[in-house]
Amino acid sequence: MSALAYDGTAMLGRQLRRVRNNPALVILTQSMPITMLLFFGYVFGSALAMPGDAYRSYLVPGLLVATAANGIMTGMFQAAQDSHRGVTDRLRTLPMSRAAVPLGQATADLVVTAAGTVPFLLVGLAVGWRIEGSALQAVAAVGLLLLFRFACAWVGILLGLASRSEEAAGQLGSATFMLPLLSNAYIPTDRLPGWLRTLAEWNPISAVTTALRYLFGNSPVPEGAAWPVAHPIAGSLAWCAALIAVFAPLAVRRYAHNDR
């Protein structure tokens, strides 16, 4: 087994053991999107022009993607914590693969996210969301969701490693909750003013959300949207590829030569 695979597996094991040691935190994190689904779905859903059932069905893919975007925040917290509590430096004095530490973190995050998606979808089914497309398309939707989460984790890891302090990472990380607000995760973008609509539709969250709604068969691709939303699958793949291609090498580099 190559050093990267061996060390990466060890680091993945470390992250999963941390989750097992502190299950309360994970349960709390994973229950947030469920709470939001119920809150948004029934409180906002009753105030919108769209019927409540339809809005909740619209909301499920949106919240899935908004939650995936939280990978930035989670990645930042963990990387900053390791970096400022000396764990990163201990690992950097070991004769191990440099890329294994961030890769292990991103992979563990993926496993935890995948597990958390199951209860969320069950609640989604309970409030009226359905898989209206083929099973294969539904699998593709989940795959795309996880790919997006993986990309977001790398963004977070880089920002966390570069952070000045855990507090700074916490503040910046918390600010990322605004990212889905400027997308089509919670509301359709077609009634936004022109420039704002363009901005929202070039938000990667919009492309992935549209792709999920399309693949789950919940709603068609909107007309007249910007390219990533008009071609949601290609748009999502391009966004994920671009994010990973930029942020993963930068994060590994930052980890290997952290000249603080």
Binding site: A10, R14, R18, R85, G86, V87, R90, P95
Partner: protein, 314 residues
């Protein structure tokens, strides 16, 4: 017989922007010895250790650790060193045992669980082995840190302020562990703010000041370098100034006061200044003398004289 050096650095330099943290570090630590790196806060001790443990890349200079080039053979260096310090720590969310197993696995130790068990035993952590490290006391945490850096029996162990903030009992445990390691042939480089710690553990001491080694040698050599410490205790505080004046005249050194004990002292390199002469001179000046002594200096005195530090460390 030629000495083999476990750590040998020449002209190591590191800048952080405008700050020249390490400016030409020449350090030689003979194999199997304990070297104490002493210096005031901000002298560059931690940066020096971070350079020598491959955590930072030097801007200039070179070093060989356990026979391997620090920069070109960084992974060979990492296989032979152990690092414990304020910055190289264990994962608080994992238990002691999980931490050691993880590091053993990353070190490619065969039987990581056995090695973890062995080290937990050696450092008296078996009972708390399955609790998260974040719940450990300061002393236990430091012992776990130390155990983690010994996973693969390193040739060179770097300890950055290993006992800062520990109670005396925990400090003694760490000291005993360092002595055991030395007996087993491990070379130890430790930084400390505690002069007593360096005096207790180190075969050689390197005094670091403003990014370079100001002086180095055995504790005895360093003490001999600065002479004898003359101290007098007077009957009441009013007489301190007069006593200080006499000491100043005799030694040519600005005396330092201990107001709690009504004492004043100064270091002298003058061999003609003996205790009888000191007492005669003070008596002649009318100083109400209670006690007078001349003793070899402590490392504290050495430190104050040989670095620009205005206050004692520790």
């Amino acid at each position: 017989m030629t000495t083999t050096y476990a750590v040998l650095s020449e002209g190591l330099e590191k800048r952080f922007g405008a700050v020249h943290a390490v400016r030409g570090l020449d350090l030689a630590v003979a194999q199997g010895t304990v070297c104490g790196v002493l210096g005031p806060n901000g002298a560059g001790k931690t940066t020096a250790v971070r350079l020598l443990t491959t955590l930072l890349r030097p801007d200039a200079g070179s070093a060989r650790i356990a026979g391997h080039d620090l920069v070109r053979e960084a992974s060979a260096v990492r296989r032979r060193i152990g690092v414990t310090g304020q910055y190289a720590s264990v994962d608080g969310d994992l238990t002691g045992r999980q931490n050691l197993r993880l590091f053993a696995r990353l070190h490619r130790v065969r039987g990581p669980a056995d090695r973890a068990g062995e080290l937990l035993d050696r450092f008296g952590l078996t009972e708390s082995a399955d609790r998260p490290a974040s719940t450990y006391s300061g002393g236990m945490r430091r012992r776990l840190d130390l155990a983690a850096s010994l996973i693969r029996r390193p040739d060179v162990l770097f300890l950055d302020e290993p006992t800062t903030g520990l109670d005396p009992a925990s400090r003694n445990q760490i000291w005993d562990a360092v002595r055991d390691l030395k007996r087993e042939g491990t070379t130890v480089l430790l930084t400390t703010q505690y002069l007593e710690e360096a005096d207790q553990l180190a075969d050689d001491i390197a005094l670091v000041d403003r990014g370079r080694i100001a002086h180095s040698g055995s504790p005895a050599q360093l003490k001999a370098l600065i002479g004898t410490y003359a101290e007098v205790v007077v009957a009441h505080a009013d007489a301190l100034a007069k006593a200080a004046g006499v000491l100043d005249q005799l030694t040519g050194v600005q005396p330092s006061f201990d107001h709690e004990r009504n004492a004043v002292g100064a270091v002298t390199g003058d061999p003609t200044l003996t205790l009888p002469r000191l007492v005669r001179e003070l008596d002649a000046a009318g100083v109400p003398l209670l006690d007078a002594s001349m003793r070899p200096p402590t490392l504290d005195d050495v430190f104050l004289r040989l670095t620009d530090s205005k206050e004692p460390v520790g």
